[in-house]
Amino acid sequence: MAIRERVPMREQDPEVRITNFLSVPLGYSAEEAVEEAKRCLQCKVPLCETGCPVRMSVKDIIKLIVDEDFEEAFFLSKQDNAVPAMTGRVCPQEDQCEGKCVLDKTGQPINIGKLFAFVADWARENDLLDETAPKENGKKVAIVGSGPASITCAVDLRKLGCQVTIFEALHMAGGVLQYGIPAFRLPRDVVDYELSYLEKIGVDIQLNQVVGQNVDFEELKKDYDAIYLATGAGAPRFLNCEGEKLKGVYSANEFLIRVNLMNAYQFPNWDTPIICGDKVGVIGCGNVAMDSARCAKRLGAKEVYILYRRTKQCAPARAEEIHHAEEEGIIFKEMISPCRIFGNEDGWVTGIEMIKTEFKGIDKSGRPRPVNIEGAEFILEVDTIINALGTTPNRLFLSNVPELNTYSWGGIKVDDNFMTNIPGVFAGGDALSGGSTVIAAMGNGRDAAESINKYLNE
């Protein structure tokens, strides 16, 4: 039997979409979703589910889509995933469910991500929300941070009957979903809708609460039966090279926070400005680098370069993001590494010195190790530099809780049950790993919720 091809995802034309911040994929229609779902072989042993960090019932959800029972499909996905419309859009499915799909061998795995996004969007359009009130168990849990790990942990614990309070430092909830991922990948109405679910089931989200600054950690310990720390990896890494103090040098965090959280692309109707030049160099090749580059393009940059010391085949960015970036005219400059940044007398960036690299051996990550080729320096003219070199755990919170055991690089130390050295205080998400994916953090939040529940019932 010939394998039918994937139902293609309709997308905004690249020429058009670089002028707006609207979603790039347009989403499946009901007919398209059913068509795509029908390709599923309904394997006896659904390998796709083994690839899911939050262990969604992929097979049964797809079957429900085939049966056009979108409502049940939605409730079933909600059972394991608090925010399926978001993960459907931002998960690296090719390394997870879709990567395990038996059809992956044909190069045409089921488009699970887009199917699940369809189901969740359908529910949103039909105002469907699972609001089953849990039976209260009298336990109180405080969660610090409101990103993906916290959201999952909060929902799981709430469903078990705990009274859950989330403390968020920023003025909007969602963590990286709010400040990091641009609207063209994750539309804001999707974020708002999925977060509203938390409040609907009774999770208390307290904004502008900077634990350690205006909320005492000691008070939290007294007032709550358990605490979950998912403060993320919010601190930017810099190159620590000459010229980094110049105007026009941004961390990807700053660039994306201005655009996403503060809506700088709508300046001056929104007050926060951003200055994006004509020639932008983005250092790094992860998803954050792609997001930054694609934002720069939308802000009107004429030339946007991804500057990467390896080749894009070794890049941490998702294939789809690289593909979308290339479609949008982002120029990939591979096998080069930054040396220093130049500026003019007014202190603005004018260029960056790069050095060519070659591969020698394999590094700890299992990827080819890039080494600089002596004497192969050259200068690239740019007026904006965005450092997308990864992030480290947020120092602010950690500095306020010195009794917490951490690694030298700032990650919080936990035991097998995600408990820190402080009894009853658990931790998870990027605050442990120092930078990962949304879904990995969610998986982490789920595991922590299980441990916390066990701890509360001991």
Binding site: A169, L170, H171, Y179, L207, N208, Q209, V210, Q213, N214, V215, G234, A235, P236, F238, N240, E244, K245, L246, K247, G248, Y250, S251, N253, E254, I257, R258, L261, M262, N263, Q266, F267, P268, N269, W270, D271, T272, P273, I275, D346, G347, N394, R395, L396, S399
Partner: protein
């Protein structure tokens, strides 16, 4: 939480004072901390010095400078700010120093001057000298908004000599350092004078804490916009500062980076003015 304005008065033609309800900020505030204001939902997150915290209120001195401060100036007692967050930042040690000088020449610096002198004067063994510098007589603050009552010695100066001593605080500092033993200097306000003060105090080997005002976005250590370079090491004004050892600050970088959005600030102002005209 409703951040209602409970007092709003002019300090001079350019500056005004507001009291705002912000219980959590007020409870934890220590001199050297600052607050983050978001005046309207589509507003910026702007760092703001706190002059004092009393009960559930904080007091702030604001200059009519850009779009946000001018828009806020059209508000009245009873109106509420969208968000008031904090206290943020890491204060310098609040301890016995001996003879302490706090010098300031600008709105935020005057607020910090009042707050720090009030706090340090409570600590046994401190002798507090406050210097507040204004361009001329017409621009000095009302007496109850100066550090007069919280300092052991208070020196008011104007650059044209129209009231108080003649000169900028830098001139007064020069004299003090020449004549007396000073154990610690603090200063806030305009950045170029802070650079000069740092050079001056270094010459006399007197330590100085300076408020290094920088552009912030989240002000929680996430964006790196407010990075300052202390002895070559990168620090963040929002979480490590904003008060730093002035002798170690890379002032050229601080001055340059603070000007990064000048053009955009003018654009925002122009857009606001046009909007206001349309309203009239």
């Amino acid at each position: 939480m409703k951040h209602t304005i409970t007092r709003k008065e002019d300090l001079n033609a350019a500056d005004y004072v507001i009291d705002v309800i912000a219980p959590k900020v007020a409870k934890k505030f220590r001199p050297g901390n600052f607050a983050v204001l978001i005046t309207v939902p589509n507003g910026e997150r702007i760092p703001m010095s706190i002059e004092r915290a009393e009960g559930d209120k904080i007091t702030m001195y604001i200059k009519r400078l850009g779009k946000t401060s001018r828009e806020l100036d059209t508000w009245n007692v009873g109106d509420a700010l969208y968000k008031v967050i904090g206290p943020m930042g890491t204060p310098p040690p609040l301890k016995k120093y001996g003879t302490v000088v706090f010098a300031s020449d600008l709105v935020c610096g005057h607020a910090e001057n009042n707050a720090m002198c009030r706090e340090l004067s409570k600590i046994m063994g401190n002798h507090i000298i406050s210097i507040q510098s204004f361009p001329d007589k017409s621009q000095i603050y009302p007496e109850n908004e100066l550090a007069k009552s919280v300092a052991d010695e208070f020196i008011l100066c104007t650059e044209d000599g129209s009231v108080g001593r003649k000169g900028h605080y830098l001139d007064i500092m020069q004299e003090l350092l020449e004549e007396r033993r000073i154990d610690q200097v603090f200063a806030g306000g305009g950045i170029p004078p802070l650079q000069k003060l740092s050079i001056l105090t270094k010459k006399y080997n007197v330590p100085v804490y300076t408020t290094v005002r920088q552009i912030m976005v989240d002000a929680t250590g996430m964006c790196g916009s407010c990075r300052v370079f202390i002895d070559g090491e990168q620090k963040l004004a929002c979480i490590d500062g904003p008060m730093f050892d002035g002798h170690k600050v890379d002032w050229e970088a601080a001055i340059s980076r603070l000007a990064m959005f000048k053009g955009k600030e003018a654009e925002a102002m122009q857009c606001y003015n046009e909007k206001m005209k349309a309203v009239v």
